[in-house]
């Protein structure tokens, strides 16, 4: 079983639109949405939730007003500035439990935290594991790890050939959690200076974690000079540019209709490029 994760560094380059199309093209796979705090893949796949599970993670400190003598020790020692006026701000609390241990009158308890939910769903393209991190919650990396673990278990049980994961933007905790141990990363970029800057950093992360990468330039014709620069850079880095997708409003139209673009405008230039991209990826995944 091989695992493809789609990343980009910069947000809004088209990861989810491409994953939606790969979902429609690939056979014999499990889908996973690893963007757990602003997940969008479900908007293209219309999942029917089969199983909903709670994600309990971390703790939050609570101060008992009755017992608190307002000595101020917890406020002084908290490294996260999460206690003010003898009250804990849950959004700042990182759940370390230091305050509970040092409170001289034992006025602080740690409360388990319901950080979100994760789901196993059916879609018209096969099973999807996805999640919803609670608003302003921490531990997105742990929830991503859980989504991937579930996807792997399902893939093993069903003997699926592939897992296709939609990753989050950035290069931090949830990205590392989506990437580590994957078979291949598809990096979707756009020919803007910000896109290039962010691509370089996400390539660095792939290298750091030893995951091979392929690049796809989305909306390549917005700035062809920058697209050439990306190709030169990738050549230097020994990374293949596997697709050049033109800008076409059909991508937004398909999204509004709630369809992957390969199902909405299946013979247009965007769809043709994505189909070639999938052939390339499937080839890479089945040989290494």
């Amino acid at each position: 079983m091989k695992e493809l994760v789609v990343l980009s560094g910069k947000g809004g380059t088209g990861k989810t639109s491409i994953v939606g199309s790969l979902a429609a093209l690939a056979e014999d796979k499990i889908l996973a949405d690893c963007d757990v705090d602003a997940a969008d893949l479900h908007l293209l796949l219309e999942p029917v939730v089969r199983q909903k599970n709670e994600f309990w993670s971390g703790q939050v400190a609570v101060i008992d007003e009755e017992k608190c003598t307002q000595c101020g020790l917890c406020q002084e020692l908290c490294h996260f500035e999460a206690i003010e006026d003898f009250t804990v701000a849950p959004v700042s609390c990182e759940g370390c439990g230091f305050c509970r241990r040092i409170c001289p009158v034992e006025a602080i308890t740690m409360k388990e935290n319901l950080s979100g939910h994760w789901f196993i769903s059916d879609t018209r393209y096969g099973p999807l594991v996805h999640a919803r991190l609670g608003i302003a919650q921490e531990n997105s990396g742990k929830l991503v790890a859980l989504v991937r673990q579930q996807a792997r278990e399902m893939a093993e049980k069903q003997g699926a050939a592939f897992i296709i994961s939609d990753g989050p933007p950035g290069i931090g905790c949830p990205v590392i959690s989506s990437l580590s141990g994957a078979s291949l990363a598809l990096l979707v970029t756009e020919p803007t200076l910000s896109g290039i800057h962010d691509l370089e950093r996400v390539i660095g992360v792939c290298r750091h974690f030893g995951v091979p990468a392929l690049v796809c330039i989305n909306k390549y014709d917005i700035n062809e000079e920058n697209s050439c620069q990306i190709e030169d850079y990738c050549r230097e880095q020994g990374i293949e540019v596997a697709a050049r997708i033109p800008f076409d409003n059909i991508v937004t139209e398909a999204m509004v209709k709630g369809l992957p673009v390969v199902q909405y405008g299946s013979d247009g230039p965007v769809s043709r490029q994505i189909k070639l991209l999938w052939q390339n990826i499937a080839g890479r995944l089945s040989t290494n």
């Binding site: 560094g9 947000g11 959004v91 040092i102 290069i171 931090g172 803007t192 974690f209 920058n226």
Partner: protein, 288 residues
């Protein structure tokens, strides 16, 4: 006054709005721009600051003095992040798991634990043609963004106008970047993905009790759910930027809108007046 620019979904135009707003205001009053997207900071591409100073971002991780350590195991028991393991004759520290809460060193009965800085990134500042510029950048391979964001935020000078460019999403880095702002601008686009993530972002900002307004970028087309939602939720739409390939091309070359099309500066000044008016009137859709 601190104004944060956030979005939920990546790539909707946060950087465009933050840099163009700063650019448009700089000749009228002192402006500071803080780029808190420390995973993928892009504002420097558009504003080309002259960086004059920098400091490293460190989190304090434990260091054990094996001479003093009795291997009692208390530190491992205390650590909420599993960053310490004690085996019969040795203490193992996993610095990349440590959140730097300081509990282990404070509570060690033998005073055998001291703290040493582990570098996770850098904060840099300087001048961008009259804009006081600050940015943070975490090292490639580093998971934790909040310490770098906190360190950027510490440089805020709230005597003037402070504009914060916030990372995408709705989880801890976003909260860290937004909290303490006087107003939050949410940049969205009229697509199903943009709308879905806008609703999540609104919930996040409301959780923090910060007044908010919306900027619709790449407007036009037939999708009106964003406007309908804002009307229903009584959220002011403070600026609409049309879908325009000219704007996209400028962006791709790393030129911010207000600089590349100076006639748009008026629009950003009106945006600023709109924010001030809301704050003066004390409205701003604080609660549902």
């Amino acid at each position: 006054m601190i104004i944060s620019v956030a979005s939920g979904k990546g790539g909707t135009g946060k950087t465009l709005v933050a840099t163009s707003l700063a650019f448009s205001l700089k000749d009228r009053q002192p402006v500071q721009l803080l780029d808190c997207d420390v995973e993928e900071p892009n504002d420097h591409i558009f504003l080309k600051p002259v960086i004059t100073q920098k400091e490293v971002v460190c989190i304090q991780v434990p260091k054990v003095d094996e001479e003093k350590c009795t291997h009692c195991g208390l530190c491992a028991e205390i650590c909420a992040y599993n960053a310490i393991a004690v085996v019969p004759d040795r203490v193992m520290i996993f610095p990349e798991l440590c959140h730097g809460c300081g509990a282990c060193s404070y509570l060690c009965p033998e005073k055998a634990i001291s703290e040493e800085g582990r570098e996770t990134g850098v904060v840099e500042w300087g001048d961008a043609d009259g804009i006081d510029f600050v940015q943070g950048r975490i090292n490639v391979g580093e998971a934790m963004a909040p310490p770098a964001i906190r360190q950027v935020r510490e440089r805020a000078n709230a005597d003037g106008v402070v504009i914060i460019d916030v990372p995408p999403g709705t989880s801890c880095p976003v909260v860290e970047a937004i909290k303490g702002s006087h107003f939050c601008l949410l940049v969205t686009e009229p697509t199903p993905f943009g709308f879905n993530d806008l609703v999540l972002a609104v919930e996040t900002v409301r959780e923090l009790n910060i007044p908010l307004g919306v900027v619709i970028n790449r407007a036009g087309g037939e999708y009106h759910k964003v406007e309908d939602y804002c009307r229903k939720e009584n959220i002011p739409i403070l600026l609409t930027i049309p879908l325009d390939t000219g704007i996209a091309r400028l962006y791709s070359r790393g030129v911010t809108l207000a600089e590349g099309m100076p006639e748009t500066q008026e629009m950003f000044i009106l945006l600023w007046d709109g924010i001030r008016k809301i704050l003066d009137e004390g409205t701003g859709s604080l609660k549902r």
